[in-house]
C-alpha cells in the first residue's frame, strides 16, 4: 500500500484584498469579488520565493516523522515560479533538508499540476521498491502582470508530501491522468509574466480535462461522487471548483472544506494540495477523498485517497494558522512581488 506518510504546508502571512487591487485599477470591487468568489489572497514577502516556502512546508512535513533522512530516495519539486531558470530547486532543497546525496532529484513543470504528476511518478518508485520514501514539494510565488485579470487570484503557498509504503495516513487507492495539447496559459522564455486565453481557460481547458480525468477514474474504480466524504478540485478562482463539482455530481457539502481559494488565492502547483491540507484537518478514518488537479497546457491528475487510522497521529491544524495574517496595500504588494 502506497500513500502519504506525512504532510506539511506553508502559507505566507501577508494578504491583499480583492478590493485593494480593484480600487487601484478603478474597477468595481464588489462585482469582481462576486464573479471570482474571492475576497483576499496570500502574498509572500520580499524575502520569500518558491524555494524558501518549499523549505518551510518540507520542514513542516518532516516535523513529526522519525525517519532517517537518508531513506528519502527521491525529491521532486513542482513549481512554475522556480528561483532559477536553469539550476534545480530540488537539489537546493535537498541540501537544506540534510538529505544524504544518494537521492534522485528533479524539478517538474506542468503549470498547476506539476506536483500531482510527480506524486504519480513517486508511486511508481515506491511500488517498484526503488525508493522507501519520496518527498514531493509543490510551491509557487505566482506572478501576474499588473492590471491583468490574474492579479486578483495568483497567490503564494507551498505544500510538501512525504510518500511511502508504511505508516501511511492517506492511502493513494488509484489515480488517472488526462492530457492534451491545449494552449490556454503559457509563458515563453524571457517573458516575465504569463499569458492566458481568457475564457478559453475555462470550458475547453479546466472543465474538459478535469471532467475527463474524473470520469475515467470513477469508472475504473466503479465509484460514484456520493461515495466520497470530501472532494478537492484545482482552484484557479472560487467559482470554477464549485461549477466542476456540480457538473460531475458532487454536492457542495463535499467540496466546502477544500475551498480555500476565497481567502488564500490560487497558489498554482500548491492549489489543490492546499485544499487537501484543509480537508485533512477534519477527515476521519475510512473517509474517501477525491482530488483532481489541473495544469494548463493541459492535463488533469485525479486521485482516490483513503484516510487511515494514522491520520490522527499526524494531523495538523490548518484554520489556526490562517489567523496569522497581515494586510498590505497595493504598493507594498508590488514591492513584495518584485514588480517595482
Amino acid at each position: 500500500m502506497s500513500g502519504i506518510v506525512s504532510y506539511g504546508y506553508y502559507i505566507p502571512s501577508f494578504r491583499i484584498t480583492i478590493k485593494e487591487i480593484a480600487d487601484m485599477w478603478n474597477k468595481k470591487a464588489l462585482s469582481i469579488q462576486k464573479s471570482l468568489n474571492m475576497h483576499e489572497k496570500a502574498v509572500s514577502g520580499i524575502d520569500e520565493d518558491s524555494l524558501t516556502m518549499a523549505y518551510e512546508s518540507a520542514c513542516h512535513a518532516l516535523l513529526d516523522v522519525k525517519i532517517k533522512r537518508s531513506k528519502i530516495k527521491a525529491l521532486f519539486f513542482g513549481t512554475e515560479s522556480p528561483s532559477y531558470a536553469v539550476n534545480p530547486s530540488s537539489t537546493i532543497l535537498g541540501d537544506l533538508l540534510g538529505l544524504d546525496n544518494n537521492y534522485l532529484a528533479y524539478d517538474t513543470q506542468f503549470a498547476c499540476k506539476a506536483a500531482t504528476g510527480a506524486i504519480i511518478s513517486s508511486i511508481g518508485l515506491l511500488k517498484s521498491n526503488m525508493a522507501e520514501y519520496v518527498l514531493v514539494c509543490a510551491s509557487d510565488k505566482a506572478t501576474a502582470k499588473p492590471h491583468d485579470a490574474l492579479e486578483y487570484t495568483a497567490a503564494s503557498g507551498s505544500v510538501t508530501l512525504l510518500l511511502g509504503k508504511t505508516d501511511i495516513i492517506l492511502e493513494i487507492v488509484d489515480f488517472e491522468s488526462f492530457s492534451t495539447d491545449t494552449p490556454d496559459f503559457w509563458r515563453r522564455e524571457g517573458i516575465r509574466y504569463p499569458s492566458h486565453g481568457g475564457r478559453f481557460t475555462g470550458k475547453p481547458s479546466y472543465f474538459y480535462h478535469i471532467e475527463k480525468s474524473t470520469q475515467s477514474l470513477l469508472k475504473k474504480q466503479k465509484l460514484h461522487p456520493e461515495d466520497f466524504k470530501h472532494a478537492v478540485f484545482h482552484m484557479p478562482n472560487g467559482k470554477y471548483p464549485i461549477q466542476i463539482a456540480q457538473s460531475l455530481g458532487f454536492k457542495k457539502s463535499q467540496i466546502e472544506k477544500s475551498l480555500i481559494v476565497s481567502y488564500l488565492g490560487n497558489s498554482y502547483t500548491a492549489s489543490s494540495l492546499m485544499g487537501l491540507m484543509s480537508v485533512l484537518e477534519t477527515a476521519c478514518e475510512g473517509d474517501l477523498i477525491f482530488l483532481a488537479s489541473y495544469g494548463s497546457g493541459a492535463g488533469s491528475d485525479a486521485f482516490v485517497l483513503k484516510v487511515t487510522k494514522n491520520l490522527k497521529k499526524r494531523r495538523k491544524d490548518f484554520k489556526s494558522k490562517l489567523k496569522d495574517k497581515k494586510y498590505i496595500n497595493y504598493t507594498t504588494y508590488l514591492k513584495y512581488m518584485n514588480a517595482v
Partner: protein, 385 residues
C-alpha cells in the same frame, strides 16, 4: 432586379473548435441547401473578410474558397474593415448589374477569438488612420470621443446609450445564433465597468467568430422557383475621411448620410416606408448616430427617442431596429457582420425570423460601417410582390 434567394449563418460566438474556413465551409453548405441550388449554378464568389491576412497570414483566401468549393470560377476577396461583408455584397450586386454573371455567392466571415485581446485590438486598428494609431487611439477610444461630443452637444447622459444595449440584448435573447442570448437591465449596463469613458463594457460589441452566406441572382427562372426571395432595391456605398480629426463634426457620419440618400433615391422610397432595419451598433452611440444619419430621426433627437423603446420589438413604430441583436448582442465577427445584417432583413421579409419576426413588413434596410465611418453601405430590400 437582383434578388436574394438564400441565406445561412453559423452561430456567432467563441467558436474555438472551428477555423475560419470551417466556418466558411459550413455557411456555404448551409446556403446551398437553403437556396436549393448547386455549385455549378454559381458564376462568381465575393468574400468579405478583414483580418485573416493580419492574424493568420492568410491573404489568398479566394483560392482557399475555390479549394473548398472545388471550382475554378472567379473568387474575389473584399476588405473594407467592418464593412467588408456589405462591400462584398455591393460588388456582387454590381457584378450582376454589369451582366458579368447571373448568380453569385456572397460570404462574410471572421475568426477572432483564437487571438489575445491585444493582438485583435491591434489588428482592428488597421482601420484607423496611421496618425490616430500613433497617437494611441483605439476603436473604443474613437467612438468614446464621438459619444462625448454628441452627449455634450445635445445634453444627454450615459443612460441614453444604455437603452441601445438594453434593446439589442433583448432582441439577441430571441436569436439562437446570437453570441449573447441574455437579457440585461439598464442597471446592469450602467454598473458595468468602463472601457473608454463614457462607453462601458455593455456599450461595446464583442469580439466574435462567425460566417454568413447569401445567394444573389438575376436569373428570373431561379427567382421564380425560389422558396424564399427578396428584391435588392438598392445597395449604395459612400466614404469619408479615415481620420476623425479631418471631419467637420465627429457626432455625425457623412458617409452614412450620403449612402442613405443615394439608396433611398434609387429605391424610390421614403424613410417612413422602412419597416425593419439592421444598423451598425459596434458601440451603443453608433446606433443613435446611425438612426439620425440615416434620416429616421432628426439630428440630436436620438438620445431621447431611444429611451422611448420605439425601435424595440413589440413597438407599433417603425422601423424596428436590430432584431438580430445587432452587433452588440448577436456578435461582431467583422467580415461577417454586413452579410448577417442583410441576411437578417432577408429572414424578416420572408417571415423566417421565428420568435423575433416583425409583422406586416414590406421593406427593410441594412446599414454597415467600416472603421469609424470611413465607409458606409446602405442596402434596401423589398418583399417579393
Amino acid at each position: 432586379m437582383n434578388s436574394i434567394i438564400g441565406y445561412y449563418t453559423t452561430c456567432f460566438g467563441e467558436l474555438w473548435d472551428k477555423s475560419l474556413f470551417d466556418l466558411v465551409k459550413e455557411s456555404i453548405q448551409g446556403v446551398f441547401k437553403s437556396a436549393c441550388i448547386e455549385k455549378r449554378q454559381i458564376d462568381a464568389v465575393f468574400f468579405g473578410n478583414m483580418l485573416a491576412g493580419i492574424l493568420e497570414n492568410n491573404l489568398h483566401s479566394s483560392s482557399k474558397i475555390a479549394e473548398i468549393l472545388k471550382v475554378n470560377i472567379p473568387v474575389f476577396r473584399v476588405e473594407s474593415a467592418c464593412a467588408s461583408g456589405s462591400i462584398a455584397f455591393h460588388l456582387a450586386n454590381q457584378y450582376l448589374n454589369s451582366k458579368s454573371g447571373k448568380t453569385v455567392l456572397v460570404i462574410g466571415a471572421e475568426k477572432m477569438t483564437d487571438y489575445p485581446v491585444q493582438e485583435i485590438t491591434n489588428a482592428l486598428l488597421g482601420a484607423l488612420s496611421g496618425e490616430e494609431q500613433a497617437a494611441g487611439l483605439t476603436f473604443p477610444g474613437a467612438y468614446a470621443m464621438m459619444a462625448k461630443a454628441y452627449m455634450k452637444k445635445y445634453g444627454y447622459g450615459e443612460k441614453s446609450l444604455a437603452y441601445v444595449s438594453f434593446k439589442n440584448h433583448f432582441h439577441g435573447s430571441l436569436n439562437k445564433q446570437a453570441h449573447f442570448q441574455k437579457k440585461v437591465t439598464i442597471r446592469n449596463i450602467l454598473e458595468s465597468p468602463y472601457i473608454a469613458d463614457p462607453l462601458k463594457i455593455f456599450d461595446c460589441s464583442p469580439i466574435s467568430d462567425g460566417a454568413c452566406s447569401l445567394i444573389l441572382t438575376s436569373d428570373k427562372s431561379l427567382i421564380k422557383k425560389a422558396k424564399h426571395s427578396v428584391s435588392v432595391l438598392s445597395c449604395e456605398t459612400a466614404t469619408d475621411t479615415i481620420s476623425l480629426k479631418k471631419r467637420k463634426k465627429i457626432y455625425e457620419l457623412e458617409s452614412t448620410k450620403i449612402a442613405a440618400d443615394k439608396a433611398f433615391k434609387k429605391a424610390k422610397l421614403k424613410r417612413k416606408d422602412i419597416n425593419v432595419a439592421e444598423v451598425h451598433d459596434c458601440f451603443s452611440i453608433a446606433e443613435i448616430l446611425a438612426m439620425e444619419d440615416l434620416g429616421f430621426w432628426k439630428k440630436g433627437k436620438g438620445g431621447k427617442l431611444i429611451t422611448y423603446g420605439l425601435t424595440m420589438l413589440g413597438s407599433n413604430s417603425k422601423p424596428i431596429v436590430n432584431t438580430s441583436g445587432g452587433l452588440k448582442s448577436a456578435g461582431h465577427p467583422v467580415g461577417a457582420t454586413g452579410v448577417k445584417q442583410i441576411g437578417e432583413i432577408f429572414l424578416q421579409l420572408t417571415n423566417q425570423a421565428q420568435n423575433r419576426q416583425v409583422k406586416n413588413l414590406k421593406y427593410g434596410l441594412a446599414h454597415n460601417i467600416g472603421g469609424s465611418g470611413g465607409t458606409a453601405v446602405v442596402t434596401i430590400l423589398g418583399k417579393k410582390s
